[in-house]
Symmetry: none
Subunit: 415 residues, 2 copies
């Protein structure tokens, strides 16, 4: 079977001039790889017709699939669409379905459709319109001599939605791609190098046609097993056996598989166990509550939070004893125990969790440097605390501490 | 003066497959732009000789300067160096100065020089060696027919040090570069197309040597003015005049200039005015508090929040009147007014803000579809409310509503 190859073409001066970082192309690479399509080149050009047309022609010679992002906005510096019309030698014309969609988009938001927005429904006649479910610029699919050009908006969430819902499935239908099976194992609470050392024996014994990748992100390491073969069922069965062996070695760190992040896994468990939760978060400043409430349906188990950022608020609104704060300070085990217990009692929930620490850059003391964070979990059976020593970076501390609390919940929930 | 143009060529399978995000090229773009060199293309190819040689030849035709990163490591998959030797038709030979440097690098760290590392000192004879002050792979500078090829390691801190200390100064000596001035104007509360329509007269009257770009992101549109000329002071003065004119047309939407996001600008204003703030956020679930507390030093003006996610918590913990909730519902103007006023009183702050809405996907009613959000601002002079009709997407609704509150604070703060 021939390997199907793709080029990612990004159009936009803002990328060339370094005004924004291109995160789209990394995401697209991973998704295409998961679909058995290999990216062999990435190209970025500016908003100039000659450069765009040249890039189209070069890409067409090199690859089967050209995925274009950017340059579809309603303003005059966005010229991807006329360039595509010129390249494929056809006119721009209002597409009635696209017009209906963009009109609906504005109507729903109680806004008027301007002439500029109306022009977003003007598409090259030789393309297939691809619906943009979360924005106003439609995607455009072109086929020519067995090659596909697909143009998408550069706005990340619009592109991702379009790729996931329509483009990837359509590419899989259009091309014959090899059989690839991916299994993602998600771990939390262990660093990449420690995990690598722990599982090195297992890793070295993997069969030749199974590749392992470490995908670390803040507080988490994903392991991706990629198997190549002829039968998806055989690959899947083999992969399941490998994962079982992995669980024997690294089981306590594995919180799930596939797409669901930790907050989704925890939400599902809380729902199953019919438990609800409340939060008292200080140094994490709302981020922990945001993680929990980013999950659709979280109102089933999350009742509310208090963010007692100020010392006075810790006493007056939450109810931490002044003696505790005075004797041990806000960033201490006695205080964090009170915070978790009090929020659980006040909000009348099964579980209460709490954070208090020095996110930085200010606020450090000699015995409590930036990155010192106490976290606690409380239910009717137990109160569990943990002291974290994180980094010097404020945002990393906020996010890492929040993930550590999620992990503490995972480890502490009653059976 | 001719515009000097450059291409950034990244070599490495790990970028193509999406295993790492390429952050180098954004940094390089900004540095080159500041040096008056315009990046007109970015290219990424894998670790394969034919693709690398083809990319060299294409780039040589297009630009004056080709800046290459990656593929200089000591392992066998790194082949940039032999490709350069082949392209420039000269042999690889141990460079004594480079050998001394790499030996020194290992000696200093108390490590032995292996044969593999010794080979890092083997360079194409036709290049000028560029010292790597913080790593083992030297840079290589080639000149051919008035064009420059510069190869650097892909490790970000090694590349940055080499660019800053040697490459940029050397490029400025080699080429006559123009002066470029950038000014970024940040707007909120108006969509890209509406803004474009509003300022079209101003935009059309911009001088030829000044370019305008729209950079939209969730809830915000950045405008970037880029001016080309001979004197940085003249360009800056001219740009200031243009911005003054823009303020006459779109002043109410402009919240700042340059790097600082809205939460930083608001934090600075609150600090200056010696005002503090508390938050009652329901549908935004902690994200609004997170934005506010993501700013270092926010504890100077942010006292705390309550997140009354559950109906009961809205009454019992925050203190919204049961009659109000029963008569108008949680997502209503009377409720949001109470929420903002109560949190301000309870937390004893100058300002109280509140959010309540249907983030989705569940929770909609016929008269309150997903994306319906009420927000409110309260201080001792006034209470201001606003009803938003956002999207069907939960995360977009959470983030857009939070930014809308920041904008409401900006618009409502007392003089």
């Amino acid at each position: 079977m021939n390997q199907i190859v793709a080029e990612l073409l990004t159009i936009g001066d803002e990328i060339l001039y370094g005004q924004i970082v291109d995160t789209n192309s990394q995401w697209m690479s991973v998704e295409l790889s998961n679909a058995g399509i290999k990216v062999i080149r990435k190209t970025t050009v500016g908003d100039r017709e000659d450069e765009i047309l040249a890039a189209f022609a070069e890409a067409e010679k090199r690859v089967d699939i050209v995925l274009i992002t950017g340059g579809l906005g309603p303003t005059s510096d966005d010229i991807t669409k006329p360039c595509l019309a010129k390249y494929f030698n056809c006119g721009l014309k209002i597409n009635n379905e696209a017009l209906a969609e963009v009109t609906e988009f504005f109507t729903q938001r109680g806004r008027e459709l301007t002439e500029i927005n109306r022009q977003q429904a003007a598409l090259p006649e030789c393309c297939e319109k691809i619906t943009n479910a979360v924005g106003t610029a439609p995607g455009m699919w072109f086929e020519k001599n067995g090659k596909v050009f697909m143009s998408m908006p550069g706005v990340p969430h619009e592109m991702k939605r379009m790729m996931t819902d329509i483009v990837i499935p359509k590419l899989k239908k259009t091309f014959t791609t090899p059989v690839i099976y991916h299994k993602v194992i998600r771990t939390v609470g262990i660093g990449e190098s420690f995990l690598a050392e722990k599982i090195s024996g297992w890793e070295n014994a993997l069969p030749q046609h199974v590749k392992l990748a470490y995908l670390p992100s803040l507080g988490e390491v994903k392991l991706r097993l990629t198997s190549f073969g002829d039968s998806i069922h055989e690959l899947q069965a083999e992969s399941d056996v490998l994962v079982e062996k992995l669980k024997e070695i690294a089981g306590p760190f594995i919180f799930g598989y596939g797409e669901d992040p930790l907050e989704v896994v925890i939400g599902r468990t809380l729902k199953e166990k019919k438990l609800n939760i409340s939060i008292a978060e200080s140094c994490t400043g709302g981020y922990l509550s945001h993680l929990i409430t980013s999950v659709a349906g979280s109102s089933d188990y999350f009742l509310g939070s208090i963010i007692p950022y100020d010392y006075q608020i810790k006493m007056r609104q939450l109810g931490v004893k002044p003696e505790t704060l005075e004797k041990y300070g806000a960033v201490s085990e006695p205080t964090i125990i009170e915070m978790a217990n009090i929020v659980r009692a006040k909000f009348n929930t099964d579980i209460g969790v709490a954070t208090s620490g020095i996110a930085g850059p200010g606020g450090a003391t000699p015995d409590k440097p930036v990155g010192t964070v106490w976290i606690a979990y409380s239910d009717k059976y137990q109160t569990v605390t943990k002291k974290l020593q994180l980094s010097k970076d404020r945002m990393i501390n906020i996010k890492s501490a929040s993930i550590a609390v999620l992990n503490l919940i995972r480890q502490s929930l009653p059976e």
